[in-house]
Structure formats: C-alpha cells, structure tokens
C-alpha cells in the first residue's frame, strides 16, 4: 500500500498500535506536557478486543495570554530546548500550561477515541473549572483562539457537536470527524519526502493531533524522523 492510493483512514488495529506509538513519541518530544495514557474500560466486554480502549489526557490546564487580560501568569515553558521541524517558524506554543493566582483555572479532558464509522480518531473533550462545574459550549468557545471561533460561527452544528461519550456514556463535546480522512491524506501527500506507509501509520496520530490541537491553540513541535 502506498500513500498515493491511501484514503486517509486507519483500521482499528492500527489505531491501537498508533496510539501506543503516539504516547511514546509524545513523551519523548514533549516532556513539558503530561503524558497520554491508554484507558481500557473493563465493563465494555462486548466490543471486540481491539476496539476496547482510548487515549486519555486529563486535567490539562490551557490558557493563553491576550491583550485584554493582564494577569500575573507564570509560564511553564520548556519549548526553547525543543528542536523544531526544519523550516517551521511557529515553534512557540500559543498555549501554555499556567499557574495563575488571580484567574480561575480551566481544565480540559481530552480523549482520542476510534470511530468505526469514519475509520479515523475522534477528539472528545470537556472543560470544567476547579470546582468541577462543567463548561457549556459557549464558555468553551470564548476560550478558543480567534480562527477556531470563526469556524464555529460559520457552522455551529458541524464543527463541535455534543454527544454521548461512547465509553463513559456522559455528554462530552467532540470535533466532528467527517473531514478527517481527507485532510489526513493531504497532510501526508504534501510531505515532499513521500514517506513510506509504515512511517505514515506510526506518525498518524501525532500528525492528526498536531492539527486538531490547533483548535485549542495547542501547537506541538515535533520531529518527523526520516
């Protein structure tokens, strides 16, 4: 299978393999951020073995300084030591982990779940403050960077939807996955190096997250190994 004939999707088996590769890569290159963990819910015994499980990244505090907000913000920023992608100027994260004394902390939980329908990973998320009160979509939208907010205002129903988490059975938000396969394929086709398919699979989740993370202003610097 070569990249040219690939449709941008992955099987559930590769999702699982890719998830572990992703978590590993993440730990190696983003030591400033907390690690991802693989969650395998016990009660979901009815699903076939490969399908059990999702990636979890919880209690992430995201905040971005803006003009109106003159907070005392201390930054936990280890980005300077990271080696960036050659030619990629945008290394500095817009989103940083903060400890703020006069601003209430907003926490995010992110789960990466496989979709059998679209055969791609799907980002489920929720936000809440330190007392556990969940945020509504409006409150979350206020926090997103300007370009994401624009996308949202264009098509509220197709970008972020609120759905039941497939494992936790509670209302979570998700980024709608119907375009994912297309832009994932473009992502890899645009790479001049024309990577081998095995490399594509290994880097699939990392590449995918580097795109969807931008909705939240997360720009992850990482090396694409040749």
């Amino acid at each position: 299978m070569d990249v040219l004939h690939w449709d941008g999707t992955i099987s559930v088996k590769y999702f699982r393999i890719g998830a572990f590769a992703f978590a590993q890569n993440w730990e190696n290159h983003n030591s400033g951020f907390p690690p991802w963990s693989w969650v395998c819910p016990k009660h979901h015994w009815l699903a076939s073995p490969e399908e059990k499980g999702y990636l979890s990244w919880e209690k992430i505090c995201i905040s971005r300084p803006n003009e109106e907000d003159v907070d005392q913000i201390s930054q936990i920023d280890t980005r300077e030591e990271e080696i960036s992608c050659p030619g990629n100027e945008d290394v500095i994260d817009d989103a940083i982990l903060v400890q703020s004394s006069n601003r209430e902390l907003h926490y995010y939980d992110f789960h990466i779940v496989y979709s059998s329908t679209f055969r791609v990973p799907v980002l489920y998320f929720r936000a809440y403050c330190s007392d556990g009160r969940p945020f509504s979509l409006d409150e979350i939208e206020k926090e997103l960077p300007a370009c994401s907010a624009k996308e949202l205002s264009k098509s509220k129903w197709t970008f972020i939807t609120q759905e039941e988490h497939p494992y936790l059975k509670r209302p979570w938000f998700k980024l709608h996955p119907c375009g994912t396969a297309e832009w994932m394929k473009l992502l890899f086709l645009s790479d001049a190096a024309k990577p081998k398919f095995e490399v594509v699979l290994e880097l699939y989740l990392l590449s995918w997250f580097s795109v969807v993370g931008q909705v939240f202003g997360l720009r992850i610097p990482f090396k694409i190994s040749n």
């Binding site: 941008g8 399908e51 129903w157 759905e163 209302p171």
Partner: protein, 356 residues
C-alpha cells in the same frame, strides 16, 4: 417496499404521567394518552403533551424530558427503539413520566426542542451516508428545501414525501447478488466533486444496543427491571456484507458484531430454516418465531483478560428490530433494506444473559 410502510406506520401507545414534583394542584392531572410513531423522537411529542398539563405547570422555561422507571430517556434514540430496549415484555400502553423541570444535564445531552432533534437526525443521516457511500457529500449538499421536506416527512410520518427526497440522495442499497467492492476506486474518487461518483461500500450502518442481564430468566416478564443505562452497551459499528457470501444472514451479521457470543463451531452446523445449532439449548416455552443462539464455550474469549467474566459465555435471549423478532436466517441485506429507520440506520436490540 411494503415492509417500510409497516415500519413507518408502527406506533407505541404511551400513557404519559406528569412527574409528582411538577404537580402544583391536587388532584393531579390524569395521564395523557398519546400514540407515538416508532420512527419518531420523544421531544417531538411536546406540542401534543403540553396542552394536557399546561394548566398545572408553574410559569417559566420548559425543557421537556421523559423517564421510564427512573431511567431518563435519551431523546436522540427513536421512540420505537427505546420501547423495544427498555420494555422487554411489551407494556401497552407504555407508562412513562414527563418532566418539564430539572433536566438531568449530567446524563442527557441538552435538547433545545425540535431543532436539536432535527440536527441529531441530519448528523445520523450524514454518518449513514458516509458508511454506505464513502462520503457524506450527498447529505451535506442537500438544498435547504430538500432538507426541510425530508425532516418534515419524518415528523409527519409521510413515507411518500420522504422517499421523494431520500431517493435524490442516491444512498446505496444492498442486494444478495455478487457485487464487487471497488475499494481501489473509492480512494481515487475521494477528490472528485461529482456527486454521483459515490461507491457502494457494502457497509450497513448499525446501532446495536445490548442489554446484559446476570440473573436467569425463562420468560420475559421474569426479567429484572432495567434501572440504569449502565446495563446497556451501545455499539455503533457498521457491518460489511461480504461479496463471497451469496447469502449473508442476520446471524452472520450478529456474529461480526458480537463475536464473543458465537463460537466458531456453531457456524458450520447452521442449517437454513432448520435452526439447528451445535449444543443449542432449546427453550420449549419460547415462541417458535424467535431464535436462540448457541452458548459461547469461551474459546474465543480467552484471548483477552476480560474473558474471565464471560468464560462460560453469554447467551442471546432475544433480538428485536422494529419491534419484531426476526429469524436469524433471514438474509441480512433484506433486513438492511427494509427495517431501517429514516436516518438509514438499522437499530438492533439484543438481550444477553451473562454468566455470573
């Protein structure tokens, strides 16, 4: 298309009681008797129900929600499916409770009336289109008027109007004959803008609801009451109809969805129409129109750690689609073409008895 007509005409008689906390004057109002379309959704009944109770409600914003035996009803699940799933021994009329306050936002996704239900329906339709055709352009590119007409036809239960619009979508259908799955073609056609360049993927959109029960029971009315959604597993996974199977049955489809509940040996001994499974346990009290499936002997289950919980297997007690219990040897393509909901999904309810 006769079967679809029956599906669209199916309805559940509801006896709707106002929740005691919402009753402001005694005596409490009598329950509302409403006939709810199977293919419809509960919040759409609001306009029918409110007149019964409006005089007793305190003023303010009403967000309607329902419960059955204390279980909040998921508004995005079609009414017929809720009934088939939560009411194993069919209760006629179905006694449910309506609330206009205290929406359980930690359990139920918010519902802002008809609009929310419409978008949930359209999103399901998009998902189904993606599964069947490899992309959802046909649904995304629907004109505003087509979209309205489609949704109105569902709300009004008008099958003719529905078919007029849905046929324009050119959604794939399934047949028994040999078909080539043009997987190579589908990848190349991804960039095309031509709407008709859609591929029949051979995948059937499925929403599977599995109720696991630990206690033993012979008759449905002996079944323990369902008291929470946690006992129900929801599997949203398409089933692929294989080209090499000249007759891919409902049984085959269920096997791909719930492999742990079917042992390999059972397949080789399946006789069409004979319902003769190796080691099958036949319950003499069962209605002949329903089928039971062989117990899993745990051979498939050993591969993963959770197998310990189901080492002696699980037994399928009941399968319900659109309120009927189809024979397992029915060709799955027929089921996929005729028993689907307007969102093109096949909703299947399965009751499984799980070992202790």
């Amino acid at each position: 298309m006769e079967a679809q007509k029956y599906v669209w005409e199916g309805a559940i008689p509801l006896q709707i009681h106002l929740h005691e906390s919402q009753v402001t004057a005694l005596p409490p109002p009598p329950p509302a008797l409403i006939l709810a379309p199977r293919i419809g959704y509960m919040p759409l009944l609001a306009s029918l129900i409110k007149p019964y109770f409006s005089s007793t409600l305190p003023p303010g914003v009403d967000t309607i929600w329902f419960d059955y035996n204390g279980i909040p009803l998921k508004w995005y699940v079609p009414t017929g499916v809720l009934f088939d799933l939560l009411c194993p021994e069919p209760e006629r009329p179905w006694n449910i409770t309506v609330h206009f306050r205290g929406y359980p936002g930690n359990v139920l996704i918010p519902c802002e009336g008809e609009d929310s239900v419409k978008w949930s329906f359209i999103n399901s339709l998009k998902e189904a289109a993606y599964i069947m055709n490899g992309n959802c352009k046909n649904v995304m590119n629907m004109s505003q008027s087509d979209q309205s007409e489609l949704w109105n036809s569902v709300m009004n239960g008008n099958l003719e109007a529905y078919q007029r619009v849905s046929s324009k979508l050119k959604l794939a259908t399934f047949d028994d004959e040999y078909r080539t799955l043009c997987s190579q073609k589908s990848q190349q056609s991804f960039g095309e803008t031509d709407l008709t360049a859609q591929v029949n993927t051979g995948r059937v959109p499925i929403r599977l609801y599995v109720l696991s029960i630990r206690e033993d029971f012979d008759d449905l009315d002996e079944m323990p009451r369902i008291d929470c959604w946690e006992k129900i597993s929801y599997i949203n996974r398409p089933v692929e109809i294989h080209q090499e199977d000249t007759c891919f049955t409902l049984h085959d489809a269920l096997k791909t969805l719930l492999p742990e509940l079917f042992s390999d040996e059972s397949l080789t001994n399946v006789k069409l129409g004979g319902v003769d499974f190796q080691d099958a346990v036949r319950n003499p009290n069962e209605d002949v129109s329903s089928d039971k499936v062989v117990e899993d002997h745990g051979k498939n289950a050993h591969k993963h750690p959770e197998a310990g919980h189901i080492s002696s297997g699980g037994e399928i007690k009941l399968i319900r689609i659109q309120g009927i219990e189809p024979k397992l040897e029915i060709p799955f393509s027929w089921v996929a073409n005729n028993l689907i909901n307007p969102d093109y999904f096949l909703h299947i309810c399965v009751y499984v008895k799980v070992a202790q």
